[in-house]
């Protein structure tokens, strides 16, 4: 019995006829299924995937690392152009057992191309939302011409004012946060269970799952955990798995009446529109948090606060301050 012989007879002749009729029936694909499946497939196939970007970043990091290891490019001391992908941890300055791991020193900023950008709008605090978009998430868009326009300055703003330090102002427009922290452009987006974007030229990519966030900042693995306290929330660095953030570096806690973080040393009390008071050092501090920020889920909200409030911590400082 081969395919060529096609033994069509089996059992009752009735069975054969039934099968023949079924085989001859035309197939009609429902129009809705055809269109929906095609649309879904084209999205999956033709959209530039985040994994493709991750793979590219990983490849760049591996190539860079290999080149360094084999001495093909000069190491420290000889200024060389570095790749813009995720960067490895910098060597520790002190004894390894005592000094915390430190994120790599920042790369020099690329000169901004502004041919398609509107004239800068100077706000009261002297920063411009248009300037703030220094570079979209580099895994998704390298071309600055493709950047979305920065949100208008009328959007609600997070203001962090500390005595003796420049004011930090960040705009929250829809799910996007833009601004400058110590001269470093910040552009972060919260969407689809992710917090992603850029801090200067470093990619930020965090997956938000329940009370945990894990991912990378500038190629360095980080992890945060949100803990519900009796009357608020506390953000801690992940301690259940390896994280590059040292213990206590980014700890932020909010309650209905106070805001505290590791760098302040003393909780700030609630005032109209935010929190204010003196830190343990005696420096006057004020954090204005617009209602829109309070509507964000606790985990991304505290992560953002953590990034901007602890920007002078030794672990976080290298991410900021390029413009200083």
């Amino acid at each position: 019995m081969t395919g060529g012989e096609r033994p069509r007879l089996f059992g009752a002749e009735e069975d054969r006829r039934l099968l023949d009729r079924a085989a001859a029936a035309a197939t009609v694909v429902p129009e809705r299924l055809r269109l929906e499946t095609r649309r879904a497939l084209e999205t999956r196939i033709f959209s530039p995937g985040r994994f493709r970007g991750l793979g590219l970043g990983l490849a760049v990091a591996l190539l860079g690392g290999s080149a360094l290891a084999y001495g093909l490019v000069a190491g420290r001391g000889a200024p060389t152009e570095q790749p813009s992908g995720p960067e490895p941890l910098a060597p520790r300055a002190g004894p390894p057992a005592l000094s915390p791991p430190v994120l790599e020193a920042p790369l020099p900023e690329r000169p901004a191309r502004r041919k398609r950008q509107p004239a800068p709008i100077r706000t009261a605090t002297g920063w411009s939302p248009a300037e703030a978009v220094g570079g979209r998430f580099t895994m998704l868009a390298e071309d600055e011409d493709a950047l979305e326009p920065a949100p208008a300055s009328a959007e609600p703003r997070l203001l962090i004012a500390r005595e003796g330090q420049p004011e930090v102002g960040l705009v929250l427009a829809a799910d996007r946060v833009v601004g400058r922290v110590r001269g470093t452009p910040v552009d972060l987006t919260i969407e689809g269970g992710q917090l992603r974007g850029t801090l200067g030229r470093r990619n930020v990519w965090l997956w938000l799952r329940g009370h945990e966030a894990s991912g990378e900042i500038g190629g360095v693995p980080v992890r945060f955990e949100l803990v519900e306290t009796r009357d608020g929330h506390q953000l801690r660095e992940g301690f259940s798995v390896r994280s590059s953030l040292p213990y206590g570096a980014t700890r932020v806690e909010t309650t209905a009446t106070s805001l505290s973080w590791s760098g302040c040393g003393k909780p700030l009390g609630a005032i109209a529109g935010g929190y204010g008071g003196r830190c343990a050092s005696g420096a006057e501090s004020r954090v204005a948090i617009p209602p829109r920020w309070q509507q964000l889920p606790a985990l991304p909200r505290l992560i953002l606060l953590s990034l901007f409030l602890t920007e002078r911590d030794p672990a976080m400082a290298p991410l900021f301050g390029a413009g200083q």
Partner: protein, 191 residues
């Protein structure tokens, strides 16, 4: 040798335009041409209407990703049949696990939406009888008697020896007749 798309017809030949990332037109030609086949075979393999969209999507995604590795030694149709059969089997296993888990939790599986797809009476009856066959027998019977593939092709699609295909086909046909006879008897008894 890869697949080339020429005006909707897929043949073996030059490196494909379809495989070039971003060639949307070639991709749509391929999709529109082969969707009826994929949809029909998946349905005949027992994939319920509610899951047909997902299975079709997976089949085309795997086809697209595997396009570069397709060596052109088999016909495109045979290659697609292989993917559909595997995906239908995977969907069946997932369904079994889901049902078992729901049973373990003491819950009823969700109600299956009524069959809105217009099918002929013969197709419905065949589908009902095929539901009584073992999955492996069903695969062979569908491929041989409904899809009219040759035994050699079926052996290639299922990745098993020719003798195994013959044996499964013989058993499947016997079982098909038995189920129909039993149904006829039940109908006669209920009258």
């Amino acid at each position: 040798v890869r697949i080339a798309v020429h005006g909707g017809a897929v043949t073996k030949g030059q490196p494909t335009a379809l495989h070039r990332a971003g060639d949307l037109t070639a991709w749509r030609d391929f999709y529109e041409r082969y969707l009826p086949l994929v949809y029909r075979v998946a349905g005949r393999m027992g994939v319920p209407d509610s899951e047909l969209g997902d299975v079709c999507q997976e089949v085309f995604l795997r086809a697209y990703r595997g396009m570069g590795a397709f060596r052109g030694e088999a016909q495109v149709g045979t290659w697609l049949y292989t993917i559909v059969v595997r995906e239908a089997a995977r969907a069946r296993r997932a369904r079994v696990v889901r049902t078992a888990l729901l049973a373990l939790l003491g819950r009823q599986p969700p109600e299956v939406a009524p069959d809105l797809v217009a099918r002929s009476e013969a197709a419905r009856e065949v589908e009902r009888v095929l539901g009584g066959l073992k999955p492996r027998q069903r695969e062979v019977l569908v491929l041989f008697d409904l899809e009219e593939r040759t035994l050699e092709e079926i052996a290639e699609i299922l990745g098993c020896p020719l003798e195994t295909v013959r044996s499964r086909l013989r058993l499947a046909r016997a079982e098909f007749s038995r189920i129909r006879a039993r149904e006829a008897l039940a109908r006669g008894g209920s009258r």
